[in-house]
């Protein structure tokens, strides 16, 4: 027989502490998503700003437009960092070598 030994612990985990730890790392996925969340609220992906996706035809005289463009640029930068972070998670060659299909 195979034998499995385990321990039981409370289902309550200190996720608040884990969140704080990850937020300390500026390049952590959590931090990058948090930044994206904030920026998206005033980016061209925000429906209330874009009015159905017409980016420049409507509300061109509003103050929010330069801010939206700035935030679009920042979203783009953060998304690129996030992509690089995801790509760096695993060494695909090592996976192929260790777990050949």
């Amino acid at each position: 027989m195979n034998s499995l030994k385990t321990s039981l612990r409370s289902s309550r985990t200190d996720s608040g502490q884990q969140v704080e730890e990850m937020l300390k790392d500026e390049q952590s996925m959590l931090n990058l998503f948090v930044i994206l969340q904030k920026l998206l609220a005033t980016s061209s992906l925000d429906k209330t700003v874009t009015h159905g996706g017409k980016r420049y035809d409507h509300n061109i005289d509003q103050d929010i437009l330069p801010k939206r463009d700035l935030h679009d640029k920042k979203v783009s930068e953060i998304a690129q960092v996030l992509l690089a972070k995801i790509d760096a998670q695993f060494d695909k060659d090592l996976i192929q070598k260790k777990f050949p299909i």
């Binding site: 195979n2 034998s3 499995l4 030994k5 289902s11 884990q18 992509l83």
Partner: protein, 159 residues
């Protein structure tokens, strides 16, 4: 799953850079992220989770990625304990243990089964000395408690 998240981020990048008009599903996905919710598209390819908030989900994802990186980069013999919830299908892992032994020793799978023992320690810290013994952790009880003295399930005493 990581590929699905990557695709969502790549879509965001392409749309925000104006490479092509954004489809409604991309808007919907990033609206869910703005609301701190786990996007439905991710859930369909995700591990099982009790979390609804995106922040908790990303924390859990980070911990699971760390566990899997350890599996990829180190020898599994050095592994002191398997984190069961890190598997997409924990039951399949338990079946794989039986399957591995069945193949190694030419025993029919129907003649093998896993036996379980609950330990008093929170988590095992040394590799198993018997090749047929595996340590697992990360299990939790809901609606019951474990009596360490008598080694049995009891009525929950927590409020």
């Amino acid at each position: 799953m990581l590929a699905c998240i990557r695709e969502s981020v790549a879509d965001l990048l392409a749309n925000i850079d104006g490479e092509y008009p954004r489809p409604l599903e991309i808007e919907a996905l990033w609206s869910q992220i703005q609301l701190n919710k786990v996007p439905e598209k991710w859930r369909t390819v995700s591990f099982q989770t009790a979390y609804d908030s995106l922040a908790d989900y990303i924390v859990e994802l980070g911990l699971k990625l760390e566990f899997w990186k350890g599996i990829v980069e180190k020898d599994t013999i050095e592994l002191t304990s398997w984190w069961l919830p890190a598997f997409f299908d924990p039951k399949a892992f338990l079946t794989a243990l039986i399957q591995t032994r069945a193949r190694q020793e030419g025993i029919p799978m129907k003649d093998l089964r896993n036996e379980y023992e609950i330990l008093d320690i929170l988590r095992n810290e040394t590799p198993a000395t018997d090749k047929h013994v595996h340590y697992i952790h990360g299990l939790a009880l809901e609606g019951a408690d474990w009596d360490y003295g008598r080694k049995l399930l009891i009525e929950t005493v927590k409020t």
